[in-house]
């Protein structure tokens, strides 16, 4: 009996082995073979209970916001207000965000950039710049909230930013608009002499969570478009594209497109840092400013096909690739060749006091995919292959930076600006996904009238490129950052801060303190009530005199994930939020006598509707 079994099983085993030998495919498997077995719907469907594999942070452009998406589902998870007011989160009304916004009500959030450690995203912070009002911001990714915003003097429109060096030593903010130093009045006839395109080197103090301008560089009065920091062998260097080296002052569309060549600015930030240490700078508007024509070294110009948009450093740090925009051409430059040319002082003269490297001695190759028009911006995959968006021919082109060979192309709808690949600008991109950030949606979605949202398209780049998902997106993603989800470590509840004098953690300690005509409310919010004064007959009432300055310090003592409370006063035009465990302050002058209901704006519980109180403002006698 036992023997029979053994012979049966061994017979079967031999059969399986034989069939495997004869019919099995032992050729090396493409990684795509399993992926392509899935339908596109299966590739992007993330069922409830499962989470997306990547976070995508898309700049929100002139919404002043940052949009957080999940990839591959392309579900929008969160809108984070950065440079503009947002009543949904009370951003711009509570004291902290109000001070940070500094009176500005909107911004134009361009290129977001993660903090990095050794050229990899570390998932701790995200930086972004405001082209509209020349600011820079930092978000803490533990809470997805803005911690600091600085206004950058001497500069106007840091479009060419932010780019972060390999260990977040600096984020650099070159400017799109040249202006006179100090934003003074100067005639446009004196543009070439009085105007400057100032680049700022900003440092981030992680402990204090503050941004700080270390120094500035008074570059020539050109427009600086996009930029990237070096990696590995080029880690001390950075590259930025320019246009309007014609120094035109009107009708730039025509006048800034005249010359066949513009420049890439190549600079060594270690050398600039050294100059600042040695005192080689002038103080302008309170800033240490390096003038390249006076302080030689560290900055060079590389001629490039006219009006380039993106310039991107390859993951190995050996090359930088300029996207032609107006010249339908990708130019691959070699850092090593550039370093050699600098060492040999192989210059072709100067421009505005800055040495120009010879094009031939830095260029490696020009890549011109057939009929591909308007190359804007390049990302990379895990094999170092390049993916360039073509704005005019509306496609993404995959090509090999080592050979210039075009490998694949896929149409996108329509007119991609930037694209963002999974960790695609780090020293080790992940491959797998690329999101094309398209400027036009046109007929892609249900019509909403003459103007449409923008559109994001997810491209599976693990094999032959294929668009596998599309999602509308509000105006307007310029660039994005895509990071492996497990790199971001959020908190669920704000930790207690017993040293915060404004915080109240025990509802019995809620109190209202009057100091002259200032009224300080130390209150709590909990499901489902406000307690402003625990000892009062009506603990949820704030009574003040007309003209009093009122400070409401509110602590959400529901230390429970996602139980956020809001605090709004009818007709007083204010609303703040307190996240679980958070203490927030709102200040206002009670300049309108009368009776004003207070209510919780963020739905918190079954009795949220009852979470109310009153502000009573006694009229002046």
């Amino acid at each position: 009996m036992k023997k029979k079994w053994i012979s049966a099983i061994s017979g079967l085993a031999v059969g399986v082995l034989a069939s495997a030998v004869f019919f099995g495919d032992f050729s090396p498997k493409q990684p795509t073979s399993t992926a392509s077995a899935k339908t596109n719907a299966e590739k992007v469907y993330v069922p409830f209970g499962k989470k997306d594999e990547y976070y995508l942070f898309a700049s929100g452009g002139h919404s002043g916001q940052l949009f957080v998406y999940g990839v591959p589902s392309l579900r929008r998870i969160r809108t984070v207000p950065v440079f503009s007011l947002d009543s949904a989160t009370g951003y711009g009304w509570d004291e902290h965000s109000k001070k940070m916004l500094g009176g500005y009500t909107w911004g134009d959030l361009h290129h977001p950039a993660f903090s990095e450690t050794n050229g990899e995203y570390d998932g701790k912070y995200l930086f972004a710049t405001d082209v509209a009002n020349s600011r820079a911001a930092v978000l803490d990714l533990k809470t997805f909230t803005v911690k600091d915003i600085i206004s950058v003097p001497n500069t106007s429109g840091p479009h060419c930013a932010a780019f972060v060096t390999e260990n977040t030593e600096y984020l650099f903010l070159p400017t799109r608009f040249a202006v006179p130093l100090g934003n003074k009045y100067e005639s446009l006839d004196d543009y070439s002499t009085k105007y400057r395109g100032v680049m700022s080197a900003v440092t981030f103090d992680e402990k204090a969570q503050k941004l700080h301008i270390a120094y500035q560089v008074a570059l020539p009065p050109w427009s600086y478009d996009l930029s990237d920091a070096g990696k590995k062998i080029s880690k001390d260097w950075a590259v930025i594209t320019t246009y309007n080296t014609e120094e035109a002052t009107t009708n730039l569309e025509i006048n800034a497109s005249k010359e066949d060549r513009d420049f890439i600015v190549l600079f060594n930030w270690k050398e600039l840092e050294k100059m600042v240490k040695e005192g080689k700078y002038d103080i302008v508007d309170g800033q240490k400013v390096i003038f390249p024509e006076k302080q030689k070294g560290g900055i060079y110009l590389v001629p490039v096909a006219k009006s380039p948009h993106g310039v991107d450093v390859t993951p190995d740090g050996k090359r930088f690739i300029a996207s032609g925009k107006l010249a339908p051409l990708l130019t691959v430059f070699s850092f090593e060749k550039a370093f050699k040319a600098i060492e040999n002082k192989d210059f072709a003269g100067e421009r505005n006091g800055i040495p120009i490297l010879k094009y031939e001695s830095v260029v490696e190759r020009e890549v011109n995919p057939e009929n591909a028009l308007g190359p804007l911006h390049t990302q990379f995959d895990d094999k170092g292959m390049a993916y360039t968006t073509m704005f005019i021919s509306s496609e993404v082109v995959k090509w090999d930076p080592n050979t210039g060979e075009v490998l694949d192309r896929v149409p996108v709808q329509y007119s991609p600006g930037h694209s963002v690949a999974a960790e695609g600008d780090t020293v080790s991109p992940d491959g797998k996904y690329l999101v094309s950030l398209n400027k036009l949606a046109k007929d892609s979605y249900l019509s909403v009238g003459p103007s449409h949202p923008e559109s994001m398209q997810l491209i599976d780049i693990s094999g032959k490129m294929e668009v596998i998902q599309s999602a509308p997106v509000d105006p307007e993603p310029h660039y994005g950052q895509m990071i492996k989800a497990d790199k971001i470590k959020t908190i669920n509840v704000y930790p207690k801060d017993e040293s915060n004098p404004d915080a109240v953690y025990n509802q019995k300690d809620a109190r209202i303190v009057r100091k002259g005509n200032e009224v300080h409310v130390y209150g709590i919010a909990m499901r489902s009530k406000f307690i402003f004064d625990a000892k009062a007959k009506r603990p949820d009432v704030i009574e003040v005199n007309e003209g009093d300055k009122v400070f409401v310090h509110l602590t959400n003592i529901d230390r429970d994930e996602d139980i956020t409370h809001g605090f709004a006063i009818n007709r007083y035009n204010l609303n703040i939020e307190v996240q679980p465990g958070q203490t927030n302050t709102v200040e206002f002058v009670a300049d309108k006598a009368g009776t004003y209901p207070i209510y919780c704006t963020n739905f918190c519980s079954a009795l949220h509707q009852e979470m109310t109180g009153y502000l009573l403002v006694k009229p002046k006698q």
């Binding site: 909990m526 499901r527 003592i557 529901d558 230390r559 429970d560 079954a606 009795l607 009852e610």
Partner: protein, 188 residues
């Protein structure tokens, strides 16, 4: 009558029991887990002989809707003296093991058993107190209830599950270790 002396092996077993009893102080004894549609991950009350752990603030916050009194470590005076009682018991057990005195051991087993029953009764008493003394002011009126010391119950959107934990099992094992030699040496 000559004093009955415990055997050396019994003394060792009683020492182990003493050790388990003492060590149980550092482990949770009892817990209650609350699961609701909004809390699939569950909320916990975890009771140590000297402290409460778990999501006490959140549970209090929710309980006020049904008019339950908030509870904290201060609500239970037992938490301040229980460690001493258990500690003393462990020390007495060690002394008995040292003296190898059977009568003392029997006495301690009786004390142990009575203490355990009192403890269970006390726990039940608190559950009755919190579940039945609901404020008339409660926004949500529910019938007074008594959650079981052990097992499942349903209150509004919550399913609760009460359970004994590591410390209680250690105490159980300690008690068993005392009964065992008494049984073994019953003829002597």
């Amino acid at each position: 009558m000559k004093k009955a002396k415990l055997s050396v092996s019994t003394a060792i077993i009683v020492s182990c029991s003493a050790f388990l009893t003492g060590a149980s102080l550092f482990f949770p004894w009892w817990g209650m887990r609350f699961v609701a549609p909004q809390y699939p991950e569950g909320l916990d009350i975890i009771v140590y002989p000297n402290k409460l752990k778990g999501n006490i603030d959140i549970i209090n916050g929710l309980n006020h809707y049904i008019g339950m009194k908030p509870f904290s470590e201060e609500s239970f005076p037992e938490l301040s003296y229980l460690p001493y009682i258990i500690g003393a018991l462990a020390v007495f057990l060690l002394v008995v093991a040292w003296l190898r005195d059977k009568r003392l051991l029997v006495a301690l087993v009786v004390v142990f058993a009575i203490g355990g029953l009192l403890g269970l009764y006390d726990l039940h008493r608190w559950l009755v107190d919190f579940g039945t003394n609901l404020s008339d002011d409660a926004p949500i009126k529910i019938k007074p209830f008594v959650p079981p010391v052990l097992g499942e119950n349903r209150i509004a959107n919550f399913v609760t599950n009460s359970y004994f934990s590591t410390g209680a099992y250690m105490i159980g094992a300690a008690f068993f270790l005392l009964i065992l030699p008494l049984w073994k040496e019953r003829k002597r």
